[in-house]
Structure formats: C-alpha cells, structure tokens
C-alpha cells in the first residue's frame, strides 16, 4: 500500500477517535500547520527537553521561532499543566487504528502529551505502518534490556475522553482535549535522500 492510501486510512481512523491528521510535504508545511492552529493563538508551544538535537525534527524549531512562536522546554508538571499546546514526535503511526507510538523515558518529555490542552505529534511518512503488528515488533526491540531500554511507551489514539456519565462522550478529561498528528513526507533536508527515493521506499512497504 502506498503512503497516500495508508495516510487516508490513518486519517479516517484517527478522526473516528476524535483526533485530526494532517499531511505535510516538508518541515515548512508542518510549521505552517502548527503555527496557524487556533491552539497557538498565544504563540506558546511546549516542547520536550533537548528537542533541538532530535533528528530530523530539531530543524523545525527555527521555522517555528521565525513565525514568532515562543518555544518552552518542558520541565516540571506544574509549568506544563494546561498549557495551550505541546509538541512531541512519534516512532510510528499505525493506520489500522489511527494510533501514534510514543516512547519517552523522560517524564518531562511525556508530560507534554499528558498535560497540555492540544497535543501536536510529528511522524515521518516512512514511519506510517499498516498494522498494530509492527507496533509489537518495535515494542519487542525497545523493551530489550540494556541502556537503550524504553520503560514507558504509549500508543495514543485520539484525545482523552470519557463516557462515564450517561454514556455522553466528553473529550478532554485528564489528558489533552485535542490531538493533532502531522505526517511529514520529507522531514529530512538531507539531499542524499530524494523525494523519489522516499516514494520508492514507501511503495515497498
């Protein structure tokens, strides 16, 4: 299945779960989507610590700053709680369920997705996979004992929700009220990997 068909599937599943998925050709488009989102009205965005060094997403930060957005590194929960917007990156996006796969040992990185009101998640098109089974494989790898072991992994499928009272669906209980996933076709500005090559690689999936 090619990446646009996979994306369509991902998008419909995520939207059924109350989330929103966007397609961006590159980081510039991703920055555009974030910066123009209503949650950025205050031009404030919480980011995980050391996001700038995170490949390939660090390159997005100067684009956001250039649009006048204040980027705040998450520290303690009190500072992040109910902040209007936060940004994370995912290791996978799963078309079958509309889920994103977030692995972060650092609590400060995780609270971005736990305590902000609108949660933006970046994922590259190459990490968009058809089935949950791929999540199982990655879980196996990431939980293997050793210094790289990931202790806390979440599959996030839409915003926080409850239907406990008279089965009335209400979005935004303890977690974010909105989840916005941006699938970026060519996140790397690396010229060695051309657009065509990315497409070929995706078609092989």
């Amino acid at each position: 299945m090619n990446s646009s068909a996979l994306f369509a599937q991902f998008q419909s599943r995520l939207s059924a779960a109350g989330g929103v998925a966007h397609w961006a050709e590159d980081l510039a488009q991703a920055a555009e989507i974030i910066a123009t989102h209503p949650a950025l009205a205050e031009q404030r965005l919480i980011i995980p610590p050391a996001f700038a060094a995170c490949q390939p997403w660090g390159a997005l930060l100067p684009l956001l700053s250039a649009r006048g957005i204040r980027l705040e590194e998450a520290t303690i929960p009190e500072r992040v709680a109910d902040a209007p917007a936060g940004l994370s990156c995912a290791s996978l996006a799963i078309a079958e369920t509309g889920s994103v796969f977030l692995a972060d040992n650092a609590l400060a990185a995780r609270i971005v997705g736990m305590l902000t009101l609108t949660h933006f998640v970046l994922v590259s098109a190459g990490q968009l996979v058809p089935l949950l089974d791929e999540a199982a494989t990655l879980l196996q790898t990431l939980t293997r004992p050793g210094p790289q072991q990931q202790h806390y992994i979440s599959l996030v499928t839409g915003p926080s929700r409850t239907a406990d009272i008279e089965r009335t669906l209400t979005i935004g209980v303890q977690g974010p009220r909105a989840l916005c996933v941006i699938v970026v076709a060519t996140p790397a500005s690396d010229p060695s990997l051309s657009r065509e090559e990315v497409k070929d690689r995706d078609n092989e999936l």
Partner: protein, 773 residues
Amino acid sequence: MSYKEHAQANQAQTLTSQPGTARPVPAVHDMPPFAERLQRGLEDENMHRALERFAPSWRQSRQALFEATAAEYGSDYSFAALRQRLRAAKDEAIAHQEELVARFKEQATAAGAVVYEARSAEEANRYIYELCRRKGITLVVKSKTMVSEEIELNHYLEERGIKAVETDLGEWVAQLDHERPSHMVMPIIHKTRQQVGEVLSRATGREISRENVAEQVAVIRREHRQAFLTAGMGISGANALIAESGTVMLNTNEGNGRMVTSLPPVHVVLAGYDKLLPTFADAMTQIRLLARSATGQPMTSYTTFITGPDRPGKEVHIVLLDNGRSAMRADPRFKEALRCIRCAACANICPPYQQVGGHAFGYIYSGAIGLVVTPFHHGLEAAAGPQSLCVSCNACETVCPVEIPLPSLILDVRSRVATSEGLPWLKRLIFGVLARPRLFDLLTRLAALGQWPATRGTPYVRYRYLRLFERLPGLRPLVQLTGWRSLPAFALRPLRDRIGDRANLAAARQEGRRSDELTVCYFAGCMTDRLYPEMGEAVIQILERCGLRVVFPRAQHCCGLPALNSGDRQHGVAMAKQTVRMLERALDESGADYIVCASTSCVVTLIQDYLRLFEDLQLQSWLNRTRALAGRIMDFTSFLLRVLVAQQRLPALRRPRSGSAPVVTYHDSCQSCNCLGLRTEARQVIRDVLGLELREMRDSDVCCGFGGSTSIEHPEIAERLLERKLRHAEETGATLLVSDNPGCLMHLRGGVDANGRPLRVLHLAQLVAEYLA
C-alpha cells in the same frame, strides 16, 4: 460410583479446590444482602432504562467494527479468528503459568521493578500498606482497577489512615457516593447526570450543574490536579502482563492512568495471575478485541506499556495476586474462566443484567463472569443469590472475546449452590415427580381432569378464574404468577394418546422399505406432549405428508432439562440416562434414520448438555453412547430445510392469497440461535418456502424471559423481558408471532392471553402445516 458418591466427591473437591468455601471468607464490608440489592436494582428505573438503551447501540457498533475489520484485512481478523487466537494465547499462559511468571519476574526485575506474589487479599493489602508506611505516604492516587475492588484495598488503607483517591471519573463518583462500580467498564452506568451533579456538588461544596455533563467532567480535572502532583503513590491495575519483556500493559481513555503511573515517585501495579500473556503479539490481539467488546469503540485512547521504572528514584512494584486463582486453575472447568480480559461484554448483552444492574447481578465482579468467579474470590455463598438470575440464554458466550463457556460454568455454580444449600422444596417436589415417568403421567392426567376451576375449559390457566383463590393461605404467590402471563392448561388427551400405530416401533422395520424411504423417530419433549399436542400433530403431519415414516416411542419422557437447569444433577442424570436408553432402543427397534425434535431446548440438552454432564461425572460409556446418538438428532427447523426441502420431499404448498395473507414476525429462541447457531433457517422457511411476508422485530434474538425456572423464581424479570418482546413484536404490525421452541411459545402465548394482545403465537411447524395443500 453412585450419584451420591459423585456428589460427595465433587463436594470434597469443591471444598479443597475452593478456598472460598473451605474457610470463611471475610465478608465484604457494607455489602447489603442479595435480596436487598435485587429489590433496589428492580426499582431503579433510570438504571435499567440506561442499560436497555446501551445494549442495542453497543451490539451494533461492536458488530460493525468487527465486520469492517474482517472486510478490510481478511478473515484472519474476523471476530471468530481473533478470539480463537487470544483464547489460544491465554490457554498457553494458563497451562504454563509457572514458566511465564518466572520469565515475567526475571524481565521485570532486570528492568528495575519489584515483583511481589500475594497469595491472598490480606497479603496484597498488607504489602501495599507497608510500602506506604515505610515511605511515609499518606495520599495515594488510583486509576481504575477491579482487583483493588476485589480485595477492598481502599477500605484497608483508609482504616489505617491512608487516603486513596480514585481518579477515573466513574470510580471517583462511586467512591464519593460510597458505592461500588455496577459495571466493570462503566462504573456508574446506574447513575443519571442529575445524581452525578448532586454527588459532585456535595463533594466539592460548590454548585455543579445537574444537567451539563461537560461541566461535570471538567470538575474532576480541577479537583484531581493537586492530588496527582502531591500523592506519594500511584496504584493501577493491568490489562496484561507481558511475560517476554516484563511489561505491564494498561488501557485507559481518560488519561488519568498515565498520570497515576507517571507522576508519583512510587507506582504499584495490582494484577491477578490471569493477566499474564506470553508476547507483545498476543497483547495486540487482545487490544483488537478489548475495546470493541467493552464499549464498541475501536481502541482506547491510551495503551501504555510500562517496563520497570522510567527514572532514577522512581519505584515500580508489581503485586501478583492469587486469591482463589490457583484453585480455579486446578479445576478443569473453571480454569477456562481465567481467560477473562474483563471487557464486560457478557454483562452488556445479558437480558436480566439490564433489568437489575451489576450490584445484584454479581458481587464485586458483575455480569456472567461475575457469577462464575465470585465463588473463588468471595465464597460460594456470595454467588448463591446472583446466580439465580441467569436465564441460560447463552448470549454471553456468543460475544465473549476469549470463548469462556459462561452459561455452563454458571450452571456448575448453580449445582454447587444446590448441593451446598439444597433445593427449595417446591423444586425438589417437581423434579422428583418429573423423574418418575409413571407418576408424572398419572399426575398430569389427574391435573387435566381437575383443572377446570382454573381453566373453565379454555386452554389457559387464567388469573381471572383464579382470583377467588388468592385469599387462600399460601396460594397468593402462585395465583399472582398468572396475573401477567396465563399458564397453559394440561391437554386432556396428550400427544401420546393421539399417535395410534406410530408407537409400534418394530412395525416400521418389518414392513418392506423402499431404498429412498426415510424413517424418523419423533422425540416430542414433555411440554409438547402434555401441553401442546397440536404442535406435535403438526410435526407428524408434515413429516408424513413428505412421505416419511414416523415412529413415536411411547417410553419417551422429559429429557431432564428443568432439573439440570436448576442445578439438580441427581435427578438430571437419571433422566439423561433414561432418555439415552429409550432413544437407543427406539432406533434399534425401528431402524429410524433420524431423531427429530421440534423443541430446540430439548435438542440442546440431548446433544450438548448430556455430553458435558457425563464428562463431568466421568461416565465414559454413557458419554460414548450419547455421542453416537447425537449424530442422529436434528431439530425440526434444520430437518425441514436441510432434509425435507433440500431433498425436495415437501409436497406442493398452498400459496398465500395476496391481501389476506398474514404478516409474520419471528422470535429467535435462545437455544436455536445461541446454542445451535440457527439464524437464517426459519426465516428461509417463512419467506422462501411459504412465501409469506416476514417483518423483523427489534432484538429478535434477545431472550423472551422464559428462562426455565428463572421465570418462577424471578417473575418480575421474566415479566419485563416478556413485555419488551411482545412490544417489539407488535411494533412490526405482524399478526403472527412464530418461533420454534415450545418454552418460548408458552411464555409468549401466556403474555398475549393475559393482556389480550392481538397476536397469534405459533410454532413454525404449525405455520407450515397450515399451508399443506
């Protein structure tokens, strides 16, 4: 071994394998007695309206999701295939529990977690309390865990000065109102928004909207923020413990679970051994089944995988709880219940549950699975009342995502209760009579002669004839049973008096037979024989008009279903043997090709329940004999379609005249659809063979409320289910209500008669017979 010895052996086994009955289980505090819980449940109209509304929408979204996935990804992802896979993974985990626990412990410990194995509720509670005490923790935040309800952890901690705050919205509201969850997934489904608003206003001291749910939900975010940031410990359950990596999997929707497990410096996971799964791949299968089965949503918002502490200074403690689980595992039948993933589908689909709610239909664990596991966690006594509510409709087994044979396990619990508490005298008397064919024959004939004051010569025992007797001491409850449902009169001439030569079994064999001639041995069932001989005559008429030879063994008698259904195995097994012996002889003497029965309840007893019964009692030769018979037994509806219609034996039928033809609606008897898997056959007969208009009623496959003796023990429930069924039938505008099981027909006819409804209720065979040219 005699039955008594068996019963004693079973009892002994029960006692050793069930800690619940071997030693007194500490009573759960503040749990009102069953009768009180039942009364409250019956009176709570908001609750059963909410549950009745939920059931159909849940069924629809659940089914649509499974069908869509199968259509998109192929049959490997169908509900049947998924549940087969999860069942296999769970069975593997149960069979190899020791190895899996060792693997899990090794991996979790290597990742920095502490694993503690608690044999009892007390041990688990004490471990958690000691942990709090050592660390000076006085505030604990919790995400929803049924195991903590099972061991009453909150109560234990609070008695010792530690505050435990539930952070799941529903659990929190229940906690504030000093209640227990009434549903494993939707804890406060029994509460209205007005009630929730009241509880929240009282708890916060502020006026919270009674109508605006969004405002109510917002309260919890505000109220709990501080607790999350200051609590010394977070306690969660687990949806799975993944052995290959030592990982705890948690499924939540609200986001509180991730906060409970992330923010406080200590995280305690409380989970039964039954949560073990071998691999991540198995966990994905569980994910594909859990949320769809639970709420009809594709997936929960958050699925979290925790493998040891995430940061220096953080502690993760995993408490593995036994509390009766190893006794379940040692029991060849009940170990299957350890497959449960706590989705509550068995509660969602359960008709009596919808009428009384989870506080009555269960103990701490509710729904069908609650009736099954309660004896092991909280003692047999705790299950005694709730198990009586099961109508044996078998709907739960059809939706269980791990294929637990819930209905038969409930019957096993019922028979343990009957063994330990004894049957009520009336039932003992009835089953005693039923088990003696000659006495039964005599009494039913006498009753047919003496019933005139109650029937005035009509086919019904009616309330208006009995009102006179209401004042007589002791008769009032019996008379009132007919207030909403007339009872059938005994036939003056039972079917066995109307069969003429067909009782001569040997004659069928002696007369020359053509090669294509079929002989059918007709097993009528006692209800048809004594109450509805006209149904039996219709069956015989159809078979003979198709050119078949019909024999009717006069030695036939009740199959024992009523006794077995009430947990009376002593009489049940005697009647099972009697029936098997009688059918063998009939086949032998007549050379019949098939045994046909137009009561699907009896068919299920003959071909399914006997097998389990003889297996349980280790009566190998009876088991083999029953297996050999079962291959020859067919229900009338299947026989009609698969033999008579398929082999073109059915003669030309009268075509319905347009304009005056009746409009039919069909009720799926539980045994027909849930046990025999008949869903399209009768409809094909009505539509395609008879050419009649069939209008589907809502919930055609939901129990009519007869439920065998349940309708006598819990008439309020039987009446409500009947009322719903008849309302749905009437809504279609049909004039004929058809089914293929005499038990349902008796219940439905009684309801129609008592309320003077404009419906004719017929057996499918009677309908077909009307169109024989």
